[in-house]
């Protein structure tokens, strides 16, 4: 928290509110995206908060299981068969 200053022109509270959406790249407003990025660069606490959630997202994403190649092969074959079999 930086008292009396608002890096990027927005408060820590506003950044906290929008942080998840920002990290998911779902912030539609480009100028807001820039302001949040600027704030995260300048504000140590918010920057650490962002790092924490990036790490959590990363760890959750790593849980994605490998898809069995045989399954994908069967699905591709099924798709190819549709062309031949569907009346």
């Amino acid at each position: 928290m930086i008292f009396g200053k608002k890096p990027g022109g927005i408060s820590c509270r506003q950044v906290a509110k929008d942080l998840q959406t920002f990290l998911d790249e779902e912030t539609d407003d480009e100028s807001r995206r820039h302001r949040i990025a600027e704030h995260l660069e300048a504000c140590r606490d918010c920057g650490l908060e962002a790092d924490t959630y990036r790490a959590i997202k990363g760890a959750l994403a790593q849980r994605a299981p490998e898809i069995d190649p045989a399954t994908m092969e069967r699905l591709r074959a099924f798709s190819a068969d549709l062309s031949d079999d569907t009346p």
């Binding site: 998840q20 959406t21 998911d24 779902e26 650490l48 908060e49 790092d51 924490t52 959630y53 990036r54 790490a55 959590i56 997202k57 990363g58 760890a59 959750l60 994403a61 790593q62 849980r63 994605a64 299981p65 898809i67 069995d68 399954t71 994908m72 069967r74 699905l75 591709r76 099924f78 798709s79 549709l82 062309s83 569907t86 009346p87």
Partner: protein, 185 residues
């Protein structure tokens, strides 16, 4: 049989999404066999409808087809689930903890193990959204579409889920911001 244009559209729009379709189907069904069946059902429906598809947002189009296919499947299998709109996607069984993580090579096993524990502790509704957004890489809108709930609900569940994971990490003394650095651990 499709027209040549239909065949081409199917090749162009549907097949590149096969991987995502399977991941989403698995997130919904929590079961390899059911996921494969659901993808096949989706492919068949997509193939039949491809001539009416305008080519815009193929993933969203396919996810809508999958949602409808799953609703039909659940209706056939478990009619009672339809009473609660939040469960229309159906959770046939909760089998997420299948121990298949043994082969994973983790950059940070401590963080990952703690995140895994926290994830398994989450309510099913939260895990489902984490799976679709963080694992399958769907947008909020796509996730809302497949689960048939408002985008605001997706955001709320996702944020609360991650907050719970974060709280768990804190409770076991893990600082994710610094622990996540690769190598060294």
């Amino acid at each position: 049989m499709q027209t040549g244009a239909g065949e081409q559209a199917f090749q162009n729009y549907v097949l590149p999404e096969l991987d995502v379709l399977y991941r989403v189907a698995f997130s919904i069904t929590r079961n390899n066999a059911d996921a494969e069946d659901l993808v096949q059902d989706t492919l068949l429906r997509a193939y039949r409808a491809i001539d009416r598809f305008d080519g815009r947002h193929p993933r969203a189009w396919l996810l809508t087809i999958m949602r409808n296919a799953q609703i039909n499947r659940v209706r056939r299998k478990r009619p009672e689930l339809l009473r609660d709109p939040d469960t229309t996607m159906g959770r046939v069984a909760d089998e997420s903890a299948d121990g298949e993580g043994a082969d994973r090579r983790l950059l940070d096993r401590t963080l990952d193990a703690a995140v895994e524990t926290a994830y398994l502790d989450l309510p099913e509704k939260f895990r489902e959204v984490i799976d679709l957004v963080d694992l399958s890489g769907l947008s909020y809108l796509e996730t809302a579409d497949i689960l048939d709930v408002p985008v605001g609900t997706i955001m709320s569940r996702l944020h609360r889920a991650r907050k719970r994971v974060r709280d768990h990490l804190e409770s076991v003394g893990i600082d994710a911001a610094t622990t996540a650095a690769p190598e060294d651990q």
